[in-house]
């Protein structure tokens, strides 16, 4: 039984600051995994909001192409200048120019993936929860952990700074394909693309340091009795995620270095011979390969999408177990599936490259591995679904988000199947169908899991609950609007709307010529553009109650009555609230699996992992 005691004096080896550390060592340059986790969370949530603002502005251009953005348009002009923001047809200031649209598009993707979702799902939740859940006092390398956060922070600063340099931010997609990435802004060498690459190098460094820490910690610092098969599934998910980051990022780092050389040192790693821009041949050595960039990029970027989803699986699993008051169904299947998923994710990447002129044999290989990888995915989702059967379901706010995650991820996953087959991908590649698919997985998928995790673990971090009513408002509005945004995109994509059209496809509508058999884009696409944009702005408004709730509850939220308000079995709930420096007053000992809920013969409907008795 855990007693609440003040933190003990530390021995010589511990690298933590003394008990009376100043503000800077306690809250800014701290090596405590909990502080670092919160730093990641706050920074990443800010980036999440910023990334959303970028697309909110883009959506105006898509809904009302050629019209100046009201209110914010003149502000943008003041900040970014007339190369980016112009006057529209009726003389109003605030029209988003194509270059700015492309910048926002590239940076929205980059910021959301690398600065918001991964730092939230992996670094924030992982850093805070994993050491607690395995019964460890901290991460294996606390100072490296701190370095990892600051590298991320610097990477973010570099990315943000790129908006304000001549030429603006990177505008060649989050995928940064060469040769466009090199030739897009030849007027400036230290341009947005260069900053993007430098920012990525910092982010990759942060990621690498973090993943080494996670893996070493999980291998070495599990408490006595915490065997591999007693680990909460959340920890398994983090473990595999860390391996994906460790082994898949370096090829992108290599590619980033090479693209940097192409941009700054005049090399031709990715620039083919005879490359011409605006009708004139470039004076480069040539001999490079644009496909090489794509291979190296997607070698990372495919495992990256599993980095986006695996922490979400982990969070949802914890919350489902807790709110069904039942053991998770198929724990072993979950573990083997997540390991299989991690392994397969390294050999499917070229399904993002079906339209690069690949031969049928190699395309078939990647199509096959892609189909195989859907199996562990389905197994994980199935186990989570079956876990609901016969449960005493508590519809708490975390559980609402976790429950919605299941069908939403299901839609995202199923819509990925036509993209995974090389033949059906041909008409769908680079269309809004793809955008619909991956946003389903990431938005009502991962982001919902992140919201679920915030509502779930907020009481442990702060000692107060987030307001339940506003949580439900946040949930329902987000669910409805996310579906209104992303469901129509499948129809738009099937109609042929390309994913990077600055004007929402207006040019292609004008190109329709039935007598010549030119279809162009059907009119319904444009109506949908407007509806999607309206839903997107409403989704933004729906986050306001959440943001207010987040801050207000810090001071006025309903206080927890115990250290384990949700009645959970995992070790992070068997600590004081909030957990002190060093986490546990005495070494933890684990006697049972992670989800001993409603054990027959027990006096409560949950039995914590550190409670002795029948295993």
């Amino acid at each position: 039984m855990q007693t609440i005691e003040p933190a003990v004096e530390h021995a010589a080896h511990v690298e933590h600051p003394p008990a009376q550390a100043d503000f800077w060592r306690s809250y800014v340059f701290s090596s405590d995994h909990k502080v670092i986790g919160l730093q990641y969370a706050v920074t990443a949530l800010c980036f999440l909001l910023f990334g959303f603002l970028l697309v909110g502005l883009m959506r105006w251009q898509l809904a009302y192409p050629g019209k100046a953005i009201p209110l914010l348009g003149p502000m943008l002009h003041a900040i970014l200048g007339e190369d980016m923001v112009a006057k529209d047809g009726v003389g109003r200031l605030g029209l988003m120019l194509p270059d700015l649209y492309n910048s926002f598009g590239a940076m929205h993707g980059t910021i959301m993936v690398f600065l918001a979702i991964v730092p939230l799902g992996f670094a924030a939740f992982g850093n805070y929860v994993v050491p607690l859940q395995i019964g460890a006092p901290d991460m294996a390398f606390p100072r490296i952990n701190m370095a990892s956060y600051w590298a991320y922070f610097l990477g973010g600063v570099v990315m943000l700074a790129s908006f304000f340099i001549p030429g603006g931010a990177a505008k060649s997609g989050w995928t940064s394909y060469s040769p466009l990435a090199t030739v897009a802004d030849m007027a400036h060498r230290w341009n947005g693309q260069t900053f993007w690459i430098l920012g990525m190098v910092l982010l990759i460094t942060s990621s690498l340091l973090g993943s080494v820490n996670f893996i070493a910690t999980i291998i070495q610092l599990r408490a006595p009795g915490m065997t591999w098969m007693r680990l909460p599934f959340f920890v398994w998910a983090m473990f595999v995620t860390a391996f994906l980051l460790l082994l898949a990022f370096p090829p992108l780092e290599a590619a980033a270095i090479m693209q940097l050389m192409d941009n700054l040192a005049g090399t031709s790693f990715f620039l083919p011979s005879g490359l011409a821009v605006s009708g004139r041949k470039l004076a480069i050595s040539g001999g490079g390969s644009p496909l090489l960039w794509q291979h190296l990029f997607w070698f990372l970027a495919h495992p990256e999408v599993y980095v986006l989803i695996l922490p979400a699986f982990g969070i949802v699993c914890e919350i489902i177990a807790n709110n069904t008051r039942k053991c998770i169904w198929g724990y072993r299947s979950l573990v083997y599936s997540v390991l299989g998923l991690g392994f397969m994710s390294f050999i499917v990447w070229a399904h993002h490259m079906y339209l690069t002129g690949m031969g049928t044999k190699i395309a078939t290989f990647f199509q096959t591995t892609t189909m195989i990888i859907s199996i562990p995915s389905v197994i994980i989702l199935t186990c989570l679904f079956i876990s609901l059967w016969g449960g005493a379901i508590r519809f708490t706010v975390p559980m609402l988000f976790a429950l919605a995650f299941l069908p939403m991820f299901g839609i995202g996953g199923l819509t990925g199947l036509p993209l995974g087959f090389n033949y059906s991908d041909i008409p769908l590649h680079d269309t809004y169908y793809v955008i619909g698919h991956f946003h389903y997985v990431v938005a009502p998928g991962t982001i919902f899991a992140i919201f679920a995790g915030i509502y779930y673990w907020y009481p442990k971090v702060t000692g107060r609950f987030l307001n339940e009513f506003w949580g439900k408002v946040h949930f329902w509005l987000s669910l409805i609007f996310m579906n209104l945004i992303f469901l129509p995109m499948f129809a738009q994509g099937l109609a042929g709307m390309h994913r990077r059209m600055y004007d929402g496809g207006a040019t292609y509508a004008g190109a329709a010529d039935p007598s010549a058999g030119v279809v162009g884009l059907p009119q319904f696409v444009f109506g949908l553009n407007r509806e999607i944009s309206h839903a997107a702005w409403l989704l933004g408004l729906a986050q306001v109650p959440f943001i207010i709730n987040f801050f207000v509850s810090l001071t006025w939220g309903r206080k927890v009555q115990s250290d384990n308000p949700w009645g959970a079995t995992t070790l992070e709930w068997q600590t004081p609230t909030p957990p002190p420096h060093g986490n546990f007053a005495r070494p933890m000992r684990v006697y049972r699996g992670p989800y001993d809920y409603s054990v027959p013969g027990a006096d409560r409907d949950f039995t914590p992992q550190n409670e002795p008795g029948r295993a």
Partner: protein
């Protein structure tokens, strides 16, 4: 609560934390240099006019010499660690110092080679061979610098840990050694691939 297994190994894994950490990091480095080697292969196979032999302007004798320098630094590094295991701090200082000097010599030779190339007008932008040559050897050289900084620290101010916690210090030298040997390992592949083939 203390972080365990910083010095003594954990029973079931048989490893101390930093050893797990460094091997994980080296695994990521294998992927980093592996991606560059893969790029080298692709660029060369896809090229219609690669550079061979004398056209590369690479001196095989100098490259061979540098290979010998790194190999020597590897043996001195492992001897530095072995000296600590044998409780001979004096020998450690000698061998660790030699390791750092070998690293310095390697870099000086490399700088001489780079200068020669620039002097002959061979820049990264001149031909894709030079692009990959400068990138591969440049990144490798950065790793040599990093290794030297760590080894230098362990030779100098960091060596004070030997007095208070010799086992922990020995582990640090071992972990630094693993990184240093990896740098040598990369060069073992770089040398024939760039200079000889």
């Amino acid at each position: 609560m203390d972080i365990l297994y910083t010095v003594e190994p954990r029973e079931d894994t048989g490893l101390f934390n930093a050893k797990v950490g460094i091997w994980l990091f080296l695994a990521s480095e294998v992927m980093l240099f592996g991606a560059l080697f893969s790029s080298y292969i692709l660029l060369r196979v896809g090229s219609s006019s690669w550079l061979y032999g004398a056209a590369k302007d690479l001196s095989v004798p100098i490259g061979t010499f540098n290979t010998g320098v790194l190999i020597t630094s590897s043996i001195t590094m492992v001897m530095a660690w072995a000296s600590l295991k044998l409780n001979d701090f004096g020998k450690f200082k000698l061998y660790q110092g030699l390791t750092v000097l070998c690293g310095l010599l390697f870099l000086l030779v490399k700088a001489f080679e780079y200068y020669g190339k620039f002097h002959h007008g061979h820049l990264p932008g001149t031909h894709t061979f030079y692009a990959i040559y400068f990138t591969l050897t440049g990144l490798h050289a950065l790793h040599v610098v990093g290794g030297m900084v760590v080894n230098g620290y362990l030779w100098g101010p960091g060596a004070r840990l030997w007095e208070t916690d010799p086992e922990r210090f020995t582990n640090r030298v071992e972990v630094a050694g693993l990184f240093w040997h990896f740098v040598d390992l990369v060069w073992i592949f770089l040398f024939p691939v760039l200079y000889l083939l």
